[in-house]
Subunit: 469 residues, 2 copies
């Protein structure tokens, strides 16, 4: 419709004829424009879980998932340690993870779909100081129905072959290593296969009619006024604007009523240019695979009995630097890594090519191995046979994930290294926000409800996570 | 002291002789190393206020302020609109700003030092919808002893020459302009001169023995283990590390027990590389100076009587886009600007040269002028004679500033466009955290106390600011 020309008449510059239209602007001639109800950007765990739950709740909606790589879970999800736990300091994390784990167990055991779930348990080795600090977390866990078991030092020495609980050597003193005075064991914790998990969501999503588009870069989000005038420079600040789609690397556009941003470490790259904070800082995390085969003391450790049904060592966390030892029985190796608090950079806009963040042999040598061999001397001569790295996406505010909706988009991210273990719940939160808006009540797997707005920033109400790996 | 060589003996690589030392490493030969108790990076309002309060509380400490520019307040502080208000939605902002204003009034009126304070008042013009939304804020303001006055539509029409309160034209409809149904006036709000304010803090700081170093770039923060081994690659993750100083652009180092990071929009640039989130997103804000001289209707507006002791129009905020009109009597002009919510980028790592963020004539034309002339038709033919831009430093979490201490540093920032108006209080918070640690109680000007940790992230407990300009 042609609006009153008085708006035009008084203007001191050339605006041409102003057409008021509710139709979106057309992309340049010759470029494709696809229309969907929802487009999900990113096919990592948070993207595919969101897409699955959206499609399941809204079978008639046309939903598209796009990703720059050739399949789902090929970036940081696939590089992750893919451990899961329900042992957290934050009640919110306890609830979100516990119900996700229940869903994964349901998929594995009741649906009979192999997603590699193996509940080997988490075993945190701690000094008395650390045990006292954890008391408050354990109390909350008990209140939220999260199982755990305490171990004494002697029990640990008997259970874990070769474990050195006393740290009184010169080396231990130089590194300020704390002694192992006890342990906390979480039985409903363990491993899964991230490629199989994202494959489950991807396949079910497609079976329900969802569409995927791989090898397509999301270049930038398209913001347009709700009532466009067709004037260059729109949207103006006095126009109510919203995100209406995404421009792809090949110049084509995908338009959708709702855009779900699930870009993980790349959320800032999509959101910051339109003036919405992506609230993510990425940090490199490295994994070092150390073979046990052929080293009797390491094989004995790998096949530690009595602590879980798997007949392997649990996932063990040492009292220093969050250093962890993960048994990988199918390849006969341990995956080992640690965390660093300061002096390793936060990355705000990560490279697209993750090969730019390589694992560093020297990091293993100086930061990991020095500590590891003090607690588990059988690693003395062990070195990694391969190593890789990926990016954690931190929400440094409280180490808790976020889901917020604003102006036509829903953003999910900031999972701070635990996207896999809370992926199912976060997908359900995204879906409920899509259907019911910011004040949605999300029904998690198992029936518990969770107020979605707790994960937003405007109405944020989550307990900070202190028990970080 | 030479430590046990057994740490060395077992190492598979060449570490040379390991010396354990508490002395900092020396910078390369020929480069200067200066030592202070505290170094403050950044001489904007937050830096100089912090330095002043630190030096005042700790007269024996050696404190240094460094800045990349030639004097204090030459970056975004000097480009700011330099308005102050105590009218906020957040009780925290109310308290922090109100006491800062009291201090500025004390400096101007009791100490007799001209910092350009002129309490012209803030006048928010609002629709009924906006007035209802503000009711909760006003209640909190009353509870915190903040004065305000309500105006009705007729009163406003009589008070402000030419004000168009009804918005029923085609243009108003296209732009969804809301009508002016009433107004809120804050009498203890107004203008000050940012160059004079930072000059006050800088000069008093120097008089007390504080040192300044201008034209010196803070290149990066230096992180070292508390107990160094003198081994390449330190600090390792198993070492307790802290920030011990800053490397300057000329290669020299400034070492200090405490480093205060007050870099404003550049906080990320300093903090992210050491793995501490700078928590700032910058956004360009533009100011357009429109001369009133020689245009009788604009002169009449500028010299509006009866609303303040200054005999000028108050600072007026229109009901759309936070568009504001500031009278500048000494130059006979108005400064005009507005805010934008989405579709203008957040800048995570701003350029050092602020000329890279120029004001845009077209922005005035399309975003500002279209709205302005509908409410104040006397601006119809008016155009800016000059314009400039600066960067706001948002903390997008809750639009509230932060002060946190971690590993030898204290960071202050994220003032979201209101650093000048809360500058004094934030400087006092920094000083109290320096003296008493994260759980300090800050005594604000006037005697009120404020729990410093409320402004941290770990123990954050502030009310989100919704009344943003």
């Amino acid at each position: 419709m042609l609006i009153s020309s008085s708006l035009l008449r008084r203007r001191p510059h050339r605006w041409g004829t102003i057409h008021k239209t509710r139709e979106p602007l057309r992309p340049p001639v010759g470029r494709k424009m696809l229309k969907f109800d929802v487009v999900v950007i990113g096919a990592g765990i948070l993207g595919v879980s969101s897409a699955y739950h959206l499609q399941k709740s809204s079978p008639d909606k046309r939903i598209l998932v796009i990703d720059r790589l050739g399949d789902a879970g090929q970036a940081n999800t696939g590089r992750s340690n893919a451990m899961f736990r329900n042992t957290f300091s934050s009640s919110d994390n306890q609830v979100l993870a516990n119900s996700s784990i229940d869903f994964y167990l349901h998929v594995q055991r009741e649906l009979g779909i192999d997603i590699g779930v193996d509940t080997i348990g988490y075993l945190w080795l701690m000094s008395d100081r650390q045990l006292s600090a954890a008391e408050g977390y354990l109390e909350k866990m008990a209140g939220n129905g999260i199982d755990f078991r305490r171990f004494g030092e002697t029990e640990l020495r008997n259970a874990i072959p070769g474990l050195e609980t006393r740290q009184d050597s010169d080396e231990a003193r130089v590194m300020s290593l704390e002694e192992v005075d006890g342990g906390i064991f979480g039985p409903k914790c363990g491993r899964l296969a991230p490629d199989k998990l994202v494959g489950f969501y991807r396949d079910r999503f497609r079976e329900m009619g969802g569409q995927v588009m791989f090898n397509q870069e999301a270049e930038h989000l398209i913001v347009e006024p709700r009532e466009g005038l067709g004037v260059e420079g729109e949207p103006f600040v006095w126009q109510e604007s919203s995100v209406v789609g995404v421009r792809l690397g090949d110049g084509s556009e995908v338009r959708a009523e709702t855009v779900v941003v699930a870009g993980g470490a790349w959320n800032n790259e999509l959101l910051d240019p339109i003036g919405i904070d992506g609230h993510v800082k990425a940090k490199k995390r490295q994994l070092f695979a150390v073979p046990a085969k052929g080293v009797p003391s390491l094989e004995t450790l790998l096949w530690t009995k009595g602590l879980n049904d798997s007949g392997t060592l649990p996932f063990v966390i040492l009292p220093k630097s969050g250093l962890f030892v993960k048994p990988v029985k199918e390849s006969g190796e341990f995956w080992i890594g640690c965390e660093d608090e300061i002096n390793r950079p936060f990355i705000t806009f990560p490279e697209h090519d993750l090969e730019r963040y390589p694992a560093e042999p020297r990091y293993y040598e100086l930061n990991v191995h020095q500590v590891l061999r003090e607690y588990m001397p059988q690693f003395e001569g062990a070195r990694p046979s391969r190593m890789w790295a990926g990016l954690y996406s931190y929400n440094t505010l409280d180490n808790m994930p976020y889901v917020f909706e604003q102006d036509g988009l829903i953003a999910v991210g900031g999972d701070s290294g635990s996207g896999v273990m809370k992926g199912d719940s976060l997908g359900r939160v995204v879906d409920s926000v899509y259907r019911d808006g910011w004040d949605a009540e999300t029904t998690l797997y198992g029936g518990a409800t969770y107020r979605a707005s707790k994960l937003s920033f405007r109405h944020r109400d989550v307990e900070r996570e202190e028990w970080v790996l």
